[in-house]
Amino acid sequence: MQQDSLFEYVMRLSDDSLILGQRLGEWCGHGPILEEDIAITNIALDLIGQSISLYDFAAELEAKGRNHDQLAYLRYENEYKNVLLVEQPNGDFAMTMLRQFFFDAFRLPLYEALMQSRVAQLAAIAAKSVKETRYHLKHSSEWVIRLGDGTEESHMRAQAAIDHLWRYTNELFYENAHDQRLQESGAVPLMSDIKEKWQKTVHEVLQEATLQLPSNNWKFDGGREGRHSEHMGYILSDLQYMQRAYPNMEW
């Protein structure tokens, strides 16, 4: 198993967490109600916390003297390997919750499988993150069910969110030569197994929510290879401003 493959893999996990955490943080002070404002920002902080552990591990693997701040804040856009799904704008509350649900339903089985990883540190990070993620999935599922099976308006908005976000979901299961190398050595699970579990969760929750999967099967990807949507640059300019304006600042 090569270090560079593992580095690539850990950076994907970390970038997914960081960028989604940053997106959710935009709700801070703008939540539809106080209680949900706190719930969303709790999830954001969980994700950013996970990204710190993952960047620390990645920095060790890379062994070039970079720390987690440098990995999080001082890379160029094409060096970020997060999926396009997590960088999509918050939109309305339904869009945010559906984005969260599609991601959580992917992240939970992935962490559960990574707990069995032959790479001890990765298994430990997964074990620590899995409880948080189980709660995130519970919360987003509850909301998807209530929005879908709620009022005419909430159903319409939830369905519109699914129809829009669906095209980004296939990229969650992206694999390349790095993955194959890691899979052969028992470091990471097969994405086909994760996809099966994701599909099961998605079907069950959407059925209970009286929502439909879209008939189109457009598939967008690029994020895992560093090709991002037009939204990414704006996220990074917010995210990186402090470190770029005041290099090495801490607080």
Partner: protein
């Protein structure tokens, strides 16, 4: 979605095994499941609890503040209800 459309819930938290659930505050939620999740997010962020109860505020019956005099003042003058008039024998320990 307006806050006031949702019922108010009272939140009770048990901080550790063996202690009572204690009232900590209230919140809005559309149903019991989300009231528990909201309570978890609002009131247990700093490891304050191991168990949560929520109850819709509408289900709580309370004394009328205007009748507080009649309810509570009569006991103020009945100091003999406190067990402070007994001589404790010297041999009794742990009192």
């Amino acid at each position: 979605m307006s806050n006031s459309d949702w019922p108010l819930w009272e939140v009770f938290i048990r901080s550790k095994q063996g202690l009572n659930h204690k009232h900590v505050g209230s919140l809005r939620a559309p149903d019991a499941t989300l009231a528990l999740e909201n309570a978890r997010d609002v009131y247990t962020r700093r490891s304050e609890g191991i168990s949560i109860w929520v109850v819709e505020s509408a289900h709580i019956h309370a004394t009328d503040i205007d009748q507080a005099d009649a309810f509570f003042e009569p006991s103020d003058t009945k100091i003999y209800r406190h067990p402070t008039f007994y001589e404790v024998p010297d041999g009794v320990k742990h009192m």
